[in-house]
């Protein structure tokens, strides 16, 4: 019963949601909207579990003075400060929570994101070493596309941007669509295996 009930729920809901995609009637829309509401409710409760897990993990680290336990104090302070300011003063524009969010969290996120520029440079350097025919092709295509994006029309003419566009619109698009067709079929196959109960590892068991 521990496995049969979730499998039955999965089968019924999978079938209902598949049928729902093809039924535009307002009853069908009502069902879809309610499913989304249920999902939000489930996610909210799951978030409580997530925060509980996070706090428990870091408290244990601090309690047992495990390696790098000082970082755990910072994490616990962050969680506590967000909860206290959020529940204490709300999340209006100038509330302490939003001040923390705008002047601490966002700059930190932007810092992490900005690392991407440097990582792209180092990854490009590694990729564009023309060791094989494929790597040379990649290098040539990348140089054309990059230069095609630079406003050099007055110096080299239209052929470079046109060639860059052609690379993006034809060989690149063809490869992308090929991958996407495979992804679509793979998604249908995986969904079918889950709905039919062939794929069961998500239940917390083996296969």
């Amino acid at each position: 019963m521990r496995r049969e009930l979730p499998l039955a729920i999965c089968f019924i809901m999978g079938l209902i949601m598949t049928v729902q995609f093809f039924v535009p009637h307002h009853y069908s829309q009502w069902l879809f909207d309610n499913m989304l509401k249920w999902l939000i409710i489930v996610l909210t409760f799951a978030m409580i579990l997530g925060i509980g897990n996070l706090v428990k993990l870091h408290l244990q680290k601090v309690q047992h003075r495990r390696r790098d336990w000082l970082y755990s104090i910072v994490a616990l302070f962050g969680v506590t400060a967000s909860l206290v300011t959020g529940f204490g003063w709300g999340i209006e524009a100038d509330s302490p929570f939003m001040v923390l969010y705008n002047y601490v969290q966002i700059p930190m996120q932007a810092t992490m994101f900005s690392l991407l520029a440097f990582y792209i440079a180092s990854a490009a350097f590694r990729t564009f070493r023309a060791r094989t025919v494929e790597a040379t092709l990649l290098l040539v295509a990348a140089v054309i596309v990059m230069l095609g994006r630079v406003p050099l029309e007055g110096i080299v003419g239209r052929w470079l941007p046109d060639l860059a566009e052609w690379i993006l619109d034809y060989p690149n698009m063809a490869a992308k669509r090929g991958i996407m067709i495979g992804i679509g079929l793979g998604a249908i196959s995986t969904a079918l295996k889950i709905i039919l109960g062939i794929e069961r590892s998500w239940l917390g068991g083996g296969d």
């Binding site: 039924v23 535009p24 897990n53 244990q60 079929l185 249908i188 995986t190 079918l192 794929e199 068991g205």
Partner: protein, 383 residues
């Protein structure tokens, strides 16, 4: 005689919608239910008035009343440059009468025409018929091959380098005495790619249980964390080592994208895992994760269905599962005939798509109209 009357009656009935359409086509104003919708909407279309050419033309005014009521109410005024209006405030099953008036340069508005219609919701979206046919065909092919596999048929599956390397990567971590890091993407449990990543984790966890290699699974989503914790626990139990399972090895980090990246990068730099797995849905953080992993010297295996992130993983990882290979991983690692059957089904569906592409190309070479007609068969309404 009776049969002839019946045939005549049938022909008249069959021709009725066509006659009505022909009648409507000639009318100045036509109103009709919006097709393939949830209901509550009516489309009103009208023929352009010659007054449009006049200087000072102010546009059209659309008025509505429930059929039988005396007064019209304006639902759209000063419609310029268009000859259609969608009334999204109609009640299903109620007959509405629409009147379109021309607001000329001078004088009172002139009535262009009236039309009546009822809104209703449909039980089948005909614009998605081809999608339904595609899903049914693919499902039929996949189920057929699953049944064949169940019957004991031998199925060949090509080698996938990234999946061949899984065992080697786990063995390397074991030999080095270092942990394995498994990142299952930054999407929630409703994403197919996350589910595929979770099934790969189940296989990896069995191996780590067998070799008693530490496993680190930082999670972006709390539901994913709960499921993955159960999966890893079960994998250890199935391998006869329930005590080796570390409750804290699967944990929730944060749902902030770059906060998560910072945490996982920190884990990589502190714990120095020998093997990193990145499976599932990834966004801008893919390169930050993979480059940090490469800098620590870890062997890295990635798999994603996000086409835009694939180049980053190919660049920074040792092996990359591209798109559908991510979904094939469970079948490949488990070698279960049922899963292999589904892979075969996917391949045959792909063959059908390739055939359709060839037919479409040939049609387009023969005649543009024929090619476009064929392409139209595959157009589907997005919403």
């Amino acid at each position: 005689m009776r049969i002839a009357s019946l045939v005549c009656a049938f022909l008249v009935l069959a021709a009725a919608p066509a006659l009505a359409a022909a009648e409507k086509a000639g009318a100045a104003v036509v109103a009709g239910d919006v097709p393939n919708d949830a209901g509550g909407a009516i489309d009103v279309t009208w023929q352009p008035s010659p007054a449009e050419e006049e200087i000072g033309f102010k546009g059209y005014e659309v008025q509505r009343r429930v059929a039988g009521e005396p007064e019209f109410a304006t639902v759209a005024e000063s419609v310029v440059g268009e000859t259609t209006f969608r009334d999204e405030d109609a009640e299903n099953g109620v007959a509405y009468e629409y009147q379109v008036r021309v607001l000329g340069a001078e004088g009172a508005p002139t009535v262009l025409g009236t039309a009546e219609a009822k809104a209703s919701g449909q039980w089948f979206n005909t614009a998605r018929s081809n999608a339904l046919a595609g899903v049914l065909f693919t499902s039929f092919v996949i189920i057929f091959f699953i049944l064949r596999a169940r019957g004991g048929a031998e199925l060949f599956v090509r080698k996938i380098a990234g999946l061949e390397a899984v065992e080697e990567a786990i063995g390397r971590a074991t030999e080095m005495g270092k942990p394995i890091l498994f990142v299952s993407g930054l999407a929630d449990a409703s994403e197919i790619s996350t589910i595929a990543a979770m099934t790969i984790l189940a296989k990896v966890a069995r191996k780590t249980a067998e070799y008693e290699t530490p496993l680190i699974v930082p999670c972006y989503d709390p539901i994913v964390m709960m499921v993955e914790k159960e999966m890893v626990r079960q994998a250890y139990a199935e391998m006869g080592k329930p005590d080796a399972f570390d409750e804290d090895s699967v944990f929730f980090v944060t749902q902030s994208q770059f906060g998560y990246v910072a945490a996982v990068d920190g884990i990589m730099l502190r714990e120095k895992p020998a093997t990193n797995f990145y499976m599932g849905a990834f966004y801008a953080e893919s390169l930050i994760l993979a480059e940090t992993g490469a800098a620590t010297g870890a062997i890295q295996i990635a798999g994603t269905d996000r086409v835009t992130q694939l180049p980053f993983f190919i660049t920074a990882c040792d092996y990359t599962l591209m798109g559908e290979e991510l979904y094939a991983a469970t079948a490949y690692l488990g070698r279960d005939p049922l899963f292999l059957g589904s892979l075969k089904g996917q391949d045959w569906s792909k063959a059908a798509i390739i055939l359709a592409l060839i037919v479409g190309t040939v049609f387009l070479i023969i005649s543009t109209d024929l090619g476009l007609w064929f392409a139209k068969l595959f157009e589907t309404a997005a919403s």
